[in-house]
Every structure is written in structure tokens, then in C-alpha cells.
Symmetry: C2
Subunit: 150 residues, 2 copies
Amino acid sequence: MLLSKSCVYGLRASLYLASQDNGEYIPIRQMSEKLNISFHFLTKILQELSAADLMESYKGPNGGIKLARPGADISLMQIVIAIDGPELLTECALGLPGCGVEKSCPMHDMWAETRDSIHQMLEMTTLTQLAQKGKDMNLRLTPEGGFIWD
Amino acid sequence: MLLSKSCVYGLRASLYLASQDNGEYIPIRQMSEKLNISFHFLTKILQELSAADLMESYKGPNGGIKLARPGADISLMQIVIAIDGPELLTECALGLPGCGVEKSCPMHDMWAETRDSIHQMLEMTTLTQLAQKGKDMNLRLTPEGGFIWD
DNA sequence: AATAAATAAGACAAAATACTCTTAAATATT
DNA sequence: AATATTTAAGAGTATTTTGTCTTATTTATT
């Protein structure tokens, strides 16, 4: 499993927000129902993203959550690091502490390559790119197969 | 985290065995001490690999475990699938069930590419290759930085 | 036959992750 | 001011993963 479940939920929520007409706050409850994610659990994840300055929340009626910046300025990498931390891109494939600093493990080089391609993928892709693609091609963002409208 | 801890332990043990003069059974206790992995936990993992016909065990004095086939005929992929299952190579990056069969998620294409490069890496690499590399270059297989001898 | 060395198997415990529930705080509306 | 709507926070539960411990079984050696 590449990403934790929390991280995957965070990505889906981010894409949901990036697909909305931006500016206004979206209630977490609405989003949790659309995306089929437990409301309280999603709230916690979004709090992490807010703490990382990727989202902003507002309490009270008409409150909710929104992206802190245009989706074009937020990469998938930033979401992943905010939730799962940087370990995916730093850890040894064989879990050996200090691998690479002095001695490396036998998988070091090949894993560095593969890790780079994962890094590239996450770094180069913005929320807006994927949101646009999802809208244009009517792709899936929910378990049921819908995007943000249905 | 790409691979589970069990899987990483399984890979390290496999590389340890592939680095030995082949043929004889290696006691699990010895291996667990060298690799700094809990003996009973490692035993369980090796049982999974035995069940997958990747290893063979023998009870009693002079017993232990060994590769069921030459290390050159066992890829990292086989170890990974035996322990973690095929999910890494089949699952949707956003965890959406049925992604790809009818509708795809917005990450589908890019994840398919990255996944392929992971697949390639694991499929193309054999235990013997890495064991040889480890011996030749005196690389790290233990937390302390040693290979199979020290 | 007895003993010792090894894996097999299963119960158990601890830790991490995933998820739920309750109460508090903020804010708009009436 | 009162009420309703929303996030914040923290306690609590469930599940999965990781790790430990005990007992049984197999087999070589004496």
C-alpha cells in the first residue's frame, strides 16, 4: 500500500474541493457524504491539512473548508507529505536505518530510481490538473463511480 | 510505506539465504540474530514463504530453512506477492473499488505508469543478483551495517 | 530409548491505524 | 439574547499489524 488510508481520503477531499467553484467554504458534512468518508474522520484529516496551511476552515453557518491557495499551486506531493510525512521518499526499501549515509543496502540504487518516479509523479501533478481532467472526462471520485455532481 | 514490515523482513531473509553457500539448511535463529529480527516473527514470515513454495524447511538438528529454488530463479516480486499480496500492483491510487473497469479515477493513468515501473523493478531483479551485488560491494543487510558475515 | 535441536502452530499482547462519539467553541440568523 | 449550524478537540472503540510466549512435533545424536 503506497499511501495510508488517511492520505487517500485527504487526496480525494482535496480533489473534491479543487473541482468546486472556488472561493466559498464547503461544509465537511456534505463532502463526507458525497465521498463516502466518515464525517469525523474526514474532519480530522482536514485539520491536518489546515495545520499544514493547505486548507482554511471557517466555523458556523455557511462555514466549512476550502483550499488555502488556488488548486494550481498545490501539488499532490504536498498533500501526501502533510498526512503521511516524507518517509515514502526517504526510507530505505529494506527498512534499514542509515541506509545510504555510509553503506547502502543492495536495493538502494534501484529503489532510488523508482522512488524518483513516484516523486516526479506527485510533485508534477497539481490538484487543478486532476480536477480539470476529472470534469472533462467525467471520471470517478466516489466509490459509486460519480464525480462531484452526481 | 511501499511494503509492509513483514514483507521487508521476508526480503531481507531471502537475500540472506541467497547470499549463503547454497544447499544446506540455515537455522532461523541464527538468521534472526544476524538480521536483528524477532525469531518467532521471522519464523511466521518464513512459513508464508514456504507455503508459497519459495522456501523449504527441515525440522530437527541441522534443520533450518533454505530457498526452494536457485536464487536466480526467484524474483523480488514473488516474495512481495507471497507476503503482501498483489494489491500493490492492482489497487487504485485513490482506493476506489472498480477503478479502471468502467470509469477510472483522475490518477488512474499516471499511477498505472508508476506502478509499472515498480513492477518492472521487482520483477526484473532476482535474489542472486542482489546477493551478488551485496557481496561484491560489501553492502548493508543489517541495521548495524553488516552483510552476512559480520 | 532418551535427549537435544530445530520448526509448526496457536494463543496472547502491544502498537499503530482507522473509525466513532461526545462536548466545546465559533458564528450567522432570527 | 436565543437558536441553529458548523468546525475543534479529545476521549474512546475497533481493527489490523507487529511482536511475544508457550506447547507440540519432527528428527539427529547418543
